[in-house]
């Protein structure tokens, strides 16, 4: 297990390195930081001075290394447009995104998994058919549209829930639901097919032969096996939720890194772009490593095998 962990860390480091290089040089293409920091009446000379000060004239690898060196110590530069240290901005925003993603995952699992289990047990019943339709629609509807429709109904028309911003639990409900829909469908489908497969297996047959009650057969034997692939999916999809968070953050004006990243791209704010992209990448890598570890823990064949 330790060996596994070490290999993963090395791989992740490598990926992050490549990503940072690619984004660093790519982001530089998008805009001249000096231009962004200057105003309309900055002269050419002042522009040149600024460039010199920012180190924009140094050779490529020097620029990258100095940025990377700073980044590791926590100095991610200052935002071109907002003039604040990027690190501070990140610190404010990352928790918000994580909270939204966690809420989304919770909702997706709380609804998707039970629905999948019931659909598998009562195969071909009305609830199974409803679940299937729900899954198809959930996976096909664009998240931003679902978010807007939710706002339209619950906030604008019926005035039940707030339409934007972060706050108490009621502020979480709509965004969490919007972000979770796509994944919820995935959970439902996966749980259903996993359960169906397990329900068909020999040890479930044997459990029935042993005379165990149907409830024990399903909830103890079948479920524990069926849940293993679902958990991996959960982990993978949590990382993917960071994906959907961008769009949902925009619609609900949720103060997370997605919104920060988007604005950075629009404003060609290079330090912000770099920092947010790398943070997202890092979050994703950390999460998927944790998932792989969890998986190894739950399945004793991997743990002791």
């Amino acid at each position: 297990m330790q060996r596994f962990l070490i290999i993963r860390i090395i791989q992740s480091f490598f990926t992050l390195l490549v990503l940072s290089i690619a984004v660093f040089f790519g982001a530089e293409q998008t805009g001249d930081l000096a231009l962004v920091l200057s105003t309309a009446d900055t002269t050419q000379e002042e522009l040149e001075e600024l460039r010199e000060k920012l180190g924009l004239n140094k050779p490529a690898h020097m620029r990258y290394l100095s940025w990377a060196g700073n980044a590791i110590t926590g100095d991610l530069g200052r935002s071109g447009t907002k003039r604040r240290p990027v690190w501070d901005m990140l610190l404010e925003r990352v928790p918000a995104t994580l909270q939204l993603a966690a809420a989304g995952l919770f909702v997706a699992m709380a609804i998707g998994i039970p629905l999948g289990i019931i659909a598998a047990i009562y195969r071909n019943s009305y609830i199974d058919k409803f679940a299937k339709v729900f899954a198809i629609v959930g996976m096909s509807a664009p998240q931003f549209w679902v978010a807007i429709m939710l706002i339209m109904l619950f906030a604008a028309q019926w005035r039940l829930l707030p339409a934007f911003g972060k706050g108490g639990i009621d502020h979480y409900i709509l965004p969490a639901f919007a972000i979770s829909l796509f994944i919820m469908a995935g959970f439902m489908r996966l749980t259903r097919s996993s359960m169906l497969e397990v329900l068909d297996s020999e040890f479930v047959k044997f459990a029935r032969i042993k005379g165990l009650s149907e409830r024990v057969v399903i909830y103890k034997h079948a479920l524990k096996n069926a849940i293993i692939p679902v958990l991996t999916f959960g982990g993978v999809s949590f990382a993917g939720l960071l994906n959907g968070s961008i769009v949902v953050e925009v619609v609900f004006a949720w103060p997370g890194i997605g919104l920060l990243m988007l604005n950075g791209i629009r404003e060609r704010d290079v330090p912000v772009i770099l920092a947010t992209i790398l943070t997202s990448g890092l979050l994703y890598i950390v999460l998927s490593t944790i998932v792989d570890l969890l998986y190894a823990y739950v399945d004793p064949r991997i743990r002791y095998g």
């Binding site: 990926t15 490549v18 990503l19 690619a22 984004v23 790519g26 982001a27 293409q29 998008t30 805009g31 198809i136 629609v137 996976m139 096909s140 509807a141 664009p142 998240q143 931003f144 549209w145 679902v146 807007i148 429709m149 706002i151 339209m152 604008a156 028309q157 259903r192 097919s193 169906l196 990382a239 993917g240 960071l242 994906n243 959907g244 961008i246 769009v247 925009v250 619609v251 990243m261 988007l262 791209i265 629009r266 060609r268 772009i273 992209i277 997202s280 990448g281 994703y284 998927s288």
Partner: protein, 304 residues
């Protein structure tokens, strides 16, 4: 008894009625999913013939009576604008039809090129193996692991911001890895097959082997992956448009239309509802059609 001329029988055509019922029987056998197919045909027609079939020019704001102010014409209220008008007075139906065109265009081009690039990479990587293969697969993993919108945004950012071209390149960059990985796996098994060995022994150059022998055998898989990815591609394009990094603002693309409708969610509710509904229906139909295609092409992939 007169001798029967086989030639004659082969050339004898059945009467039209019989031909039609044969066709109908064949269609029934195939179990085509009707609703998705109809929707997709409509989509294709919209995409190809948009300028000729739309009732009005989508740029035309003339439905506003400038004296009365912004028109609040909703769906099913007027024969001229069957689905209502937007805030600037443009006909919704026409805009939606043009939106179909844009979605179709972007999806087809990006998925098409993505498939080509991905397949080429996959075949090359799988055929030559070794360190190149390992490196390429590592890249594939990195790309595939990343959340798609994030990746697309990164690529858009690297290219310098919004624009149709950048969106297309971004989507291609997101999509190719899926093809590369799957195809490479198939190539690994294919290249051990006898007909490849014989070609190698006969001195056929590598590029020719890849092109003439390997490629035709992976076409099926390519089609299957395409069918899996279409829905996702349309969603990605719509999301990018919605975020404002896709087509220029004001264009009649579904994603943008949804975004425009945000300001008038209650009174002009159809502005956001209709284009989003279009996207949902099209993606549903694509997915259903893709399922059917996979079931017909390869029953082994059948799901519960």
């Amino acid at each position: 008894m007169a001798t029967v001329d086989t030639e004659q029988i082969l050339q004898e055509k059945k009467p039209l009625g019989a031909q039609v019922s044969d066709f109908y029987k064949k269609m029934k056998e195939l179990k085509l999913p009707w609703f998705p197919v109809v929707v997709l045909i409509v989509l294709v027609i919209c995409a190809l013939f948009a300028p000729w079939i739309t009732p009005q020019n989508p740029e035309d704001s003339s439905s506003i009576d400038v004296m009365k102010g912004v028109s609040k014409l909703g769906p099913f209220q007027s024969m001229e604008n069957p689905l209502g008008v937007d805030r600037l007075g443009r006909d919704m139906l026409s805009r939606l039809v043009y939106g179909a065109r844009i979605s179709a265009f972007i999806s087809v081009i990006s998925l098409g090129f993505g498939a080509v690039v991905g397949t080429a990479v996959g075949i090359t990587s799988g055929y030559f193996g070794g360190k190149t293969d390992a490196f390429i697969m590592r890249c594939c993993d990195a790309v595939m692991g990343f959340p798609t919108i994030l990746l697309a945004l990164i690529i858009v950012a690297i290219q310098g911001g919004a624009g149709i071209q950048n969106v297309i390149v971004a989507i291609i960059a997101t999509v190719w890895a899926r093809f590369a990985r799957q195809i490479r796996g198939e190539v690994l098994t294919l290249k051990e097959r006898d007909f490849v060995t014989m070609a190698v022994v006969a001195g056929v150059p590598a590029y020719k082997i890849m092109y003439r022998h390997i490629f035709p055998n992976v076409v099926n898989t390519v089609l299957i992956i395409v069918s899996l990815m279409v829905g996702q591609t349309i969603l990605l394009e719509a999301s990018l448009s919605f975020l404002g990094v896709g087509v220029p603002p004001g264009t009649s693309a579904w994603g943008i239309m949804v975004s425009e409708g945000r300001l008038n969610l209650v009174d002009l509710w159809w502005l956001s509802l209709l284009p989003g509904l279009c996207i949902t229906v099209v993606v549903i139909c694509m997915n259903l059609f893709g399922d059917w295609l996979r079931d017909t092409l390869d029953p082994k992939l059948r799901r519960t």
